[in-house]
Symmetry: C2
Subunit: 139 residues, 2 copies
DNA sequence: GTAATATACTTTGATAGTCAAAGTATATTA
DNA sequence: TAATATACTTTGACTATCAAAGTATATTAC
């Protein structure tokens, strides 16, 4: 007999896998690459960010990120701007076009969220939200 | 003011991003590639699977998967076996070494799950489990 | 029952993503 | 002020990926 912890672990992994498949399918459909959309998603959700921090969140080296950001600058999705207090650092920021792409992608996520929790009551949705907030806070 | 749906959407994305970073860090640490561990994770969680189905879950073409599986066969992590009723198909299956890797990786996930829900009561954990099960069922 | 079409997988050649290591510039510490 | 650390970029080699073409088996239409 499996413990609740065990089951919880597996449904979390399953949720992650399914979201990952979904993301991949959506992104491919739009003609953008996964790393590009991933970058937009993080910048859109968190605001301008240093290269170092962004690289960590994405899970690549700063070298890899430099070339990714170069491409995105050419596509006018992001800009580099100097860090106000540390001249070694650079802030990467979405352009208005980048924001547009973020909003567009976020709308798809919102639709998915709606579908996934369609059968939840308002109270259940609020509880689920609270659980996820607590989990995210521990990460 | 943001709606609960909006917040729920964003905490779900945040959870996904964080798990994704975590996975990347863990995998890199172990010296395996992300696609390799991802494949082991899916086979371990779901049992033997056709190439087509596996490719869809991972989010790559079958061409890409063929070369990935070739490598994993060489590493003795998986084997190919014929599909019993469709001779075009092939089942990919974890070897005992593959299972070992799966268990090892799963243990790390379990530990993470424990940490993330350390402050949950037993009842809350059960509720959270139930919510995630319902969400996964809608995917 | 056979021909046409569809499906599952593999192979191949080109492209994109990745890292490690070395290079440049700025910050911090001794 | 010198030594060391940090943030980013560049480079070269390697890995992952796809699209398209190839092979074998299934299914459908006639």
């Amino acid at each position: 007999m499996k413990s609740t912890e065990d089951k919880l672990n597996h449904v979390m992994v399953e949720f992650y896998e399914k979201l990952s498949s979904w993301e991949q399918a959506v992104v491919k459909d739009k003609g953008y690459s996964l790393p590009l959309v991933h970058t937009v998603e993080i910048l859109g959700g968190n605001g301008p960010m240093r290269m170092k921090e962004l690289a960590e969140k994405i899970g690549v080296t700063t070298g890899t990120l430099t070339v990714q950001i170069d491409k995105m600058v050419k596509l006018e999705l992001v800009t580099r701007k100097p860090h106000e207090s540390d001249r070694r650092s650079i802030l990467v920021e979405l352009t208005s076009q980048g924001h547009e792409l973020y909003e567009e992608h976020d709308a798809l996520h919102l639709q998915l969220t709606g579908e996934l929790t369609a059968k939840f009551s308002d109270e259940e949705r609020a509880q689920f939200l609270s659980f996820l907030q607590r989990v995210n806070a521990e990460f």
